[in-house]
Chain length 139, copies 4
Amino acid sequence: MSEITRPSKAELTAFMHTEFPQCPIDIESLAHHQCVVRRSIGVQQLRPGGTVSGPVLMEVADAAMYVTILSEIGLVALAVTTNLNINFLRKPSANSDVIAQCRLIKLGKRLVVGEVTLFSDGDEDPVAHVTATYSIPPR
Amino acid sequence: MSEITRPSKAELTAFMHTEFPQCPIDIESLAHHQCVVRRSIGVQQLRPGGTVSGPVLMEVADAAMYVTILSEIGLVALAVTTNLNINFLRKPSANSDVIAQCRLIKLGKRLVVGEVTLFSDGDEDPVAHVTATYSIPPR
Amino acid sequence: MSEITRPSKAELTAFMHTEFPQCPIDIESLAHHQCVVRRSIGVQQLRPGGTVSGPVLMEVADAAMYVTILSEIGLVALAVTTNLNINFLRKPSANSDVIAQCRLIKLGKRLVVGEVTLFSDGDEDPVAHVTATYSIPPR
Amino acid sequence: MSEITRPSKAELTAFMHTEFPQCPIDIESLAHHQCVVRRSIGVQQLRPGGTVSGPVLMEVADAAMYVTILSEIGLVALAVTTNLNINFLRKPSANSDVIAQCRLIKLGKRLVVGEVTLFSDGDEDPVAHVTATYSIPPR
């Protein structure tokens, strides 16, 4: 039985930039079953009316979940999102980065369930809340 | 009490190209509480491994819902997504357009609920299924 | 490799009455990846105000999904609900049975995704819409 | 403009016993946008195999959300559940009460979003996680 090699923050960052080039994120912190990621917002991420588009929020949440899972199971495994449920709560600021706080609720052998709370950087009220499930294929 | 002016397919298309410039869609058909939209897929919409990224599927579903709602309530109203739940079912083809079939389940005064089934063009098995809720502000 | 023995409607009905004694349902029809079940409503299923309680609707949807899955994979397998998402659409009638129409969207080896539309018997507008995921354990 | 009268724990308990007689709960604690409720489990709440049934978990989560909302907006308002999303995480114990910890994520004028984490009393790993949306009718 092989040990899982936990990737470092630098390894995870490099992996994510290759895997999700359209959604460049910075990993702010990593902890047991948790992580915080930051996504800078430019004109490409905005909708008319001056707000971050919904799909960008979903993309950041998905990336934050992926980072948190990979930090637990290693970079080799291939996890795929099977379900994502998002509640949009407030209009995000057009001038702030998006911050995603992720926490795994269950890390099973086959299914991982987590939640992600999304903020506009500097505001304490969340702009969206996500729960998502990833399926981990058999080794 | 004012009548709602239903927008034409051309008006809706123009509106969507302005409102969602990052997600250019073609409206294939419009019917009572239903529509079908098409999204062409290029390199920007793919992930390593050769598949359409999840956020692109969510974006197309969201746009399909928006088109269907606006075709019922008119272009003036401002509807916002409050909840979106997506189940990813199969790996989408990297070489096919994404087709989204939307159907409104409830068109209330304050909340609209609909479902969207997403396909890779030419395949009959869906790649994802979405239910979403939009909130319609008071006039 | 053993063949799956599809249970008959009578076998499924008997199984459900044992497995879900608190939610006695009648199987109205069974077809490929689909079924319709009926749940009679008594005082125990109502809330003050004269409407069917939300948990009863969820229970009927869950039972309808279970019946549809078991009719495909056989009575031996043990499927468990992993996710259920319900949108409540209209107030159900206190005097009508609840009818649940279930359709499987994906029948995978590990995960099954389906949708259930719930009606008050005799009304054509649905009272609720459910999507649910079941996990099927390895044989 | 009238002040909202916050109900006491005793008033909320009495209200819930009338409103949800099929799901008798005890309110363990109430705080700003939060509450903890307890539901005792008997034979009626179990499924064959010795586990608490899924619909009972959904019922307790729904009741916990309702208590938390009413403690903020008062007993007069009529809130209805519009969406409930539940992830089942682990098999609940047949011999333990169910504990539900609820937290409101957004308390808007029209929509309230909250999350509920469900436990078997004495275990620290949750058995299920719920996000739910309530609609509050115009006054």
